[in-house]
Symmetry: C2
Subunit: 267 residues, 2 copies
């Protein structure tokens, strides 16, 4: 049976891809919460659904899975939307940064779905990690994932080289997994070719959650620290400094204008 | 009169640097709202304070100014915190991305302030713009400000070259002002040396606000569009595509796994 485009559109629902932020309940936006509360179907990876369990009512259909691949999860969410349901697909962080928003659009294109798609942004790992570290992202930065599952390693290495040589603050996503252990070592080597071994490095996992772990170290010593799948690593630029227990990349105010104030300047 | 460090700490208050997100009320986090509501003093640039006017009560002291420089604003906020007040410094977007968090830490360092500093992250322009454009930031990206007020233009150009040559999706902040009109032209030239003229480009201003403006164009034609101080420009990588009215950078699922599904593959 062939279904016409018009028929499809008439019966299609909506798929809203929702970012729930880094984990703390009060860092999820009201727009995200409302979308979850109003949905007929809530789909997502089990870990993220557990963080928003209090928003879900018994009347809602929940598609939770620990093991299901993200493609299957997105596909099932889109199929339910295509059948007329109001579906939210829940992502941790921001669905627009290394998350599900792109996969949903790829699926919509490849399956001729007529569902209405909406993306609700969230506070991404890079925003949350920067906040707990101090102010490392005050100047130009690059975000690079070290996962070579879908990206050739040569391209990732080229990007590391580019970021290192042009003095970008560098945010590393997916630095390491059980099977992938060499990429972060190579990333450190490349950075050390261009940056001082004492360059500040921030290592964060579980930002804003109960098990939040924050570590300030240096480029030279970063591999001595605990780095895993859920870790975000932020490598400072040549001007980044450690101040107390914070990591700060100056924007340039102090150098240009002087900030010490009358009292200090007079002494 | 000299004040000892202990005395200073005893009478010091807190300065919380709060990100209010892109502008829509329901994209500000509950943590940000609560910090604003509980503060004795609310400081910020007038435009951002106007967006959160409904959170402020008559009992609160408000430091709003259209013309005051950001250094003076931060300094005054920090002085009030040093005198024992609970102060919030309000930023649009995320205070941690090209905003006030870094300046506050620079000031704290240079003035020996003993106030407690906290950063509350917000949804930054890059998160909000990506959401309205579709999914442009699904892969490695670089954020570059074209403002050469505090950064030498040679360094900015070097970063543009690096981002262009390593195929980073590139988010351009501060692309143009009344006085600064040549930088975006040079940025386009550099990108065109490495990328197809048809590369998708998204131009967004006022994301999530009433006057939100979203424009999808190409690298070749981007300069024909309206670009100003408040605009964010996102230049796709070599794989970014336009799909309907959205801009999508694939993560690589379709290429690696195929997404068309049984039905489509069978035809």
């Amino acid at each position: 049976m062939t279904i016409s485009t018009t028929e499809k559109q008439q019966r299609s629902g909506t798929l809203t891809v929702v970012g729930t932020g880094p984990g703390a309940e009060d860092l999820m936006t009201p727009r995200a919460r409302q979308a979850i509360e109003q949905a007929q179907v809530v789909a997502g990876y089990k870990t993220y659904l557990d963080l928003i369990r209090h928003c879900i009512t018994p009347e809602q259909q929940v598609l939770s899975s620990a093991m299901m691949q993200e493609i299957d999860r997105c596909r099932r969410a889109l199929e339910l939307a295509d059948s007329g349901k109001t579906v939210v697909l829940v992502c941790g962080g921001d669905p627009g940064i290394y998350a599900m928003a792109g996969l949903v659009y790829e699926l919509v294109r490849d399956t001729d779905s007529s569902s209405k798609i909406e993306i609700i942004p969230g506070i991404a790992a890079l925003n949350a990690c920067a906040a707990v570290l101090g102010a490392p992202l005050m100047h130009d930065f690059a975000a690079i994932s070290l996962s070579d599952l879908m990206t050739p390693w040569e391209l990732i290495e080229k990007r590391l080289q580019a970021a290192a040589s042009a003095d970008f603050v560098t945010v590393i996503y997916n630095p390491k997994s059980k099977k992938r252990t060499q990429q972060i070592i190579r990333a450190q080597e490349i950075m050390l070719e261009h940056r001082d071994p004492q360059t500040p490095v921030g290592i964060v996992s579980g930002a804003s959650r109960e098990h939040e772990s924050v570590c300030l170290t240096t480029l030279e010593k970063m591999l001595d620290k605990d780095i895993g799948m859920q870790t975000t690593v932020i490598i400072g630029n040549s001007a980044t400094f450690i101040f107390g227990d914070k990591m700060v990349t100056p924007r340039g105010y102090s150098a240009k204008y002087g900030l010490a104030g009358e009292k200090k300047r007079a002494t």
